[in-house]
Subunit: 432 residues, 2 copies
C-alpha cells in the first residue's frame, strides 16, 4: 500500500493511496471552502452551490449525471461543512476515470439554470424544515451560535429560508469564481487505483483551472464567546448540549482534547457513560466530542433525558468536570482512551472512503500528509498531567450551552447549565 | 481470502472469513431470536435482554465489561431486530480471543441483577421517549402495525413502557433459557483472524452450551393485512410511509423486489427521486426499500414534505406505481439497478463488519453461505418482465400506509394514500 502526492502546475493537489487487494475505490474533490467563507447575506450559499452542482452542466442534465454514475454501479454525493466542501464517489475498479470526469464537469461547467435553482431551493427548504423537527439539530445550531455569535462559523451551514431564497445564479457563479481556486482543491483517491491513472485524469480534467482569481478572499478569525441559548419548542425529551472552546486542530493540545473527550464521554467505560447512564439511568446516550477549526474549536457534551431529570443531568455533568479538573484522570483511563483512539484510527483507515477523506483533510488542513505512525506518536505523547491541565482550563473558561425540548423551562435550565459549568452555583439547589 | 464454516457438536455454527491484508477484525454472536418470538405481554424482552447482557456477569461488573474491551482499543455493541439479535465487537489483530471470551460471558453468565434491571429500564424508557420525538420512527412503527396488526412482527422492538417495566429478572432468564439454543447461535468473524483460532475459542467458550432445552418455541406465521394509520402529533414536516407486502427473503422474487426498489426509489436516477425531488422539489429525500422476513416482507416508500404538499406527494407516488405496473421499467433502468445492486454488494463486503454480519445472516436465514458469485447470478436473473409483473402484483394488493406530522389531518391523508395505492381514486381530486 503506497501513498503518493503530486501537485499540478496550477496548484491542484492529487493524492492517492493504492489498496491492491480491493475491487472498488473511493475518490473525490475536496475544496477548502465552506460556510465560514460566507458573508451574512450569503449564508447557505456553499451548501446551495454543492446542491446545484448536480443540477446540470453544459453537456449533462441532472438525470444524465445520475444515470452515468449509477449505470456502472457507482454512487456520487457531496457534503458541505464549515471549512470545506467535498464531492465524492465510490466506484468499481476501472471506473475512476469516469467518476473524475463527472466530478470535474459538475465542478467546472455547471449551468446554474434559474428554473433548476427554484426547484432546488424548495428541496433545501424541506431540508431546513427537517432540522426543525430534530431537537438535537436545533440544539447543535443554538450552541454553535452561542459559541461564535454573529460570525460565519456560528451560523447554520444550510442557511435560512430567506438567505437561500435570495440567492441568484449569478451569486453562485461569483462565489464559485471567487473561492474555488486551484490551490484550494485536492483530488483524493483510495482503493483500487494507481497514482499514475488518477494523476493523468486529474491533469486533463483540472489542469486548465485558472489561477487568475487566486483567492485573497479569506474569512474572519473565529472569536469564541460562549453563552446560554434555548428554544421554546416542546419535545418528549429535553436535549442538553454543554461545551467550551476547544483547541484548533493545529494546536499542540489537539490530541490531548481527543484523549480527554474519550475518557470523559467517549465510550462505555467513560466517566459520563458510567455515572449518567450506568449508575443513574438518566439517558440512553451521552457523548462528548472535540472538534477543531483552523483557529478555534469546540469541546461538547450531548445528552437527552426527560424534562424532570434535566437539573440532575446538568449537575452531574458539572460535578464530573470539576472532579476531573481537581484530581485528573487515572493512568489507566488515559491508557485506555489512547488505545481506543489509536485502534479507531487503524479501523477507519481500512475503509477506502475514510482513507480518501483523511488524506484530503490533511492536505487542506496541515498542507501535508500525516502518516498513521505520526498520528499514533502524537496520541502517545498525551499524559495524565496534560489531560488534567486541559480539564482545568475548560473548567475555568466561559461555557456555551443549549437546551431544547422543555418549552419555556428550557431557558431556566440553560442558565443553570451555564452556571454549573462555570462553577458559579456549586451547592445551590437546582431549579425544579 | 477464504471462508470456512464449522459446526460444534452441540450445533453452534462457527464461520470465518480471513482478510490477511487488514489489521483489525469484526466478530460476534448472532442468534436467530428476536422480537417476533415474543408474546404480547413479553414485548420488548429480546431488546431488554440484549441491554441486560452488558450489566454484569458472575465474574465481571458492567464497568469491567466495558473496560476490558476498551483497554485494548476494541468496541462492543449489540442490536435486536425482529428475527435475530447480534452481539458484536471490533478489535485489533490478536484480540479476537478476548472479544469472544467477553461475548461468551455476557451471553451465558449474566446475573440480571434486580437493581441493575431497574436502572436499565429507565435507560430504555429514555430510548422509547426518543422515538416519540422522531416523526419517521413513529411512522415506521405505525406502518408495521398496519401491515401485521396484533402480531409480534407488527409490534415495536423496544416494547412499551408498561411491558418493559413489568419484566423481571426471572422473565429474562426464562426467555434466554427457552430461546438461546445452540442451534440458533452463529459465531461469525471476518478480518485479521484465522478459522483455527476462532474455532478453538468458540469450542472452549460455547461448546458447553446445553442442547437440553432445544427449542420448539417457534413463532406464529406473519399474516400481512395492511391498512391506514396516522398520528395526531404535529411536526414541521409530514412523513409519508406507503407500502405493500413484499417477498420473504426465501421467495424466488426476493431479488426482483430489490431490483424494483432500486429503480423505483433507490438512487438519484430512480423514478421517484427524479419525479418527486428533481422535477417537483417536493422532498429532500425519498427512498424505497424492500426487506424480508422468513415468511413475509415489506416494500416501502418513505418521504417527508410540507403539510400542504402531502396530497401531491401521495398522488405522484401512486401515479408512478401505476405507470410502472402498466408499462414496466425500461431495459436500461433494469440494467442500471442490477449494476448498483451488484456493486453495492462488492463494496459492502470490503468491510469486515458487513462481511461478518452477512455470513451470520446467511447461516441463520438460509442454513448455508451464499457466495458473492451466486448472489450476483441471482441478481442477473432479474428481467424487465419480472419487474413489471412484480409491480403489477403490488399495485393490485392491499396497501399499508402511515402519515405523521400533519396533526388531525394526518388521518385524512392516510386514507387518501391508501386509496391512491390501491387505485381506488384515480382522477379524484385530492383532499386539500
Amino acid at each position: 500500500m503506497t501513498t503518493t502526492v503530486s501537485t499540478l502546475t496550477n496548484g491542484v493537489r492529487v493524492v492517492t493511496h493504492a489498496m491492491p487487494h480491493v475491487e472498488t475505490s473511493s475518490l473525490g474533490v475536496w475544496i477548502g471552502v465552506g460556510a465560514r467563507h460566507e458573508t451574512e447575506t450569503q449564508q447557505g450559499i456553499s451548501h446551495l452551490l454543492e446542491h446545484m452542482a448536480f443540477k446540470g452542466t453544459k453537456t449533462r442534465s441532472a438525470l444524465q449525471i445520475a444515470e452515468e454514475i449509477e449505470q456502472v454501479g457507482g454512487e456520487i454525493n457531496a457534503a458541505t461543512s464549515l471549512e470545506s466542501t467535498a464531492y465524492y464517489a465510490r466506484v468499481l475498479k476501472g471506473d475512476e476515470g469516469l467518476a473524475l470526469e463527472i466530478l470535474a464537469d459538475i465542478l467546472q461547467d455547471s449551468t446554474f439554470d434559474q428554473g433548476e435553482l427554484e426547484k432546488e431551493r424548495d428541496v433545501i427548504l424541506q431540508e431546513i424544515a427537517a432540522t426543525q423537527d430534530s431537537p438535537d439539530e436545533i440544539a447543535y445550531d443554538l450552541i454553535q451560535e452561542a459559541a461564535f455569535p454573529g460570525q460565519a462559523v456560528g451560523r447554520p451551514i444550510l442557511g435560512t429560508p430567506a438567505s437561500v431564497t435570495a440567492t441568484s445564479p449569478e451569486d453562485l457563479r461569483r462565489f464559485l469564481g471567487t473561492h474555488y481556486a486551484p490551490a484550494r482543491l485536492v483530488v483524493s483517491a483510495a482503493g483500487a487505483v494507481t497514482h499514475d491513472s488518477v494523476l493523468r485524469h486529474a491533469e486533463a480534467l483540472f489542469g486548465g483551472l485558472s489561477t487568475s482569481q487566486e483567492t485573497s478572499h479569506g474569512d474572519e478569525p473565529a472569536r469564541y464567546v460562549g453563552g446560554a441559548r434555548s428554544s421554546v419548542k416542546s419535545f418528549e425529551q429535553s436535549h442538553v448540549l454543554m461545551g467550551f472552546e476547544g483547541p484548533s486542530y493545529r494546536a499542540p493540545d489537539a490530541f490531548t482534547a481527543q484523549v480527554f473527550s474519550g475518557l470523559f464521554g467517549g465510550g462505555m467505560s467513560s466517566r459520563l457513560f458510567q455515572e449518567v447512564r450506568e449508575k443513574r439511568g438518566l439517558c440512553y446516550a451521552i457523548y462528548s466530542s472535540a472538534w477543531g477549526l483552523k483557529d478555534s474549536g469546540m469541546f461538547q457534551i450531548h445528552a437527552a433525558t426527560s424534562h424532570a431529570m434535566v437539573p440532575e443531568l446538568i449537575d452531574v455533568i458539572g460535578q464530573e468536570l470539576t472532579v476531573m479538573a481537581d484530581r485528573g484522570p487515572t493512568e489507566r483511563e488515559v491508557t485506555r482512551a489512547k488505545a481506543q483512539l489509536k485502534a479507531g484510527l487503524l479501523m477507519s483507515l481500512e475503509s477506502s472512503g475514510a482513507r480518501a477523506e483523511q488524506m484530503a483533510r490533511h492536505l487542506l488542513v496541515h498542507g501535508r500528509l500525516i502518516a498513521p505512525d505520526e498520528l499514533v506518536a502524537r496520541v502517545d505523547e498525551v499524559t495524565v498531567e496534560r489531560v488534567r491541565t486541559f480539564a482545568q482550563r475548560l473548567a475555568g473558561s466561559p461555557a456555551c450551552v443549549a437546551i431544547v425540548g422543555a418549552g419555556k423551562k428550557s431557558s431556566v435550565h440553560a442558565k443553570h447549565a451555564q452556571r454549573a459549568l462555570e462553577k458559579k452555583d456549586e451547592g445551590v439547589v437546582a431549579p425544579a
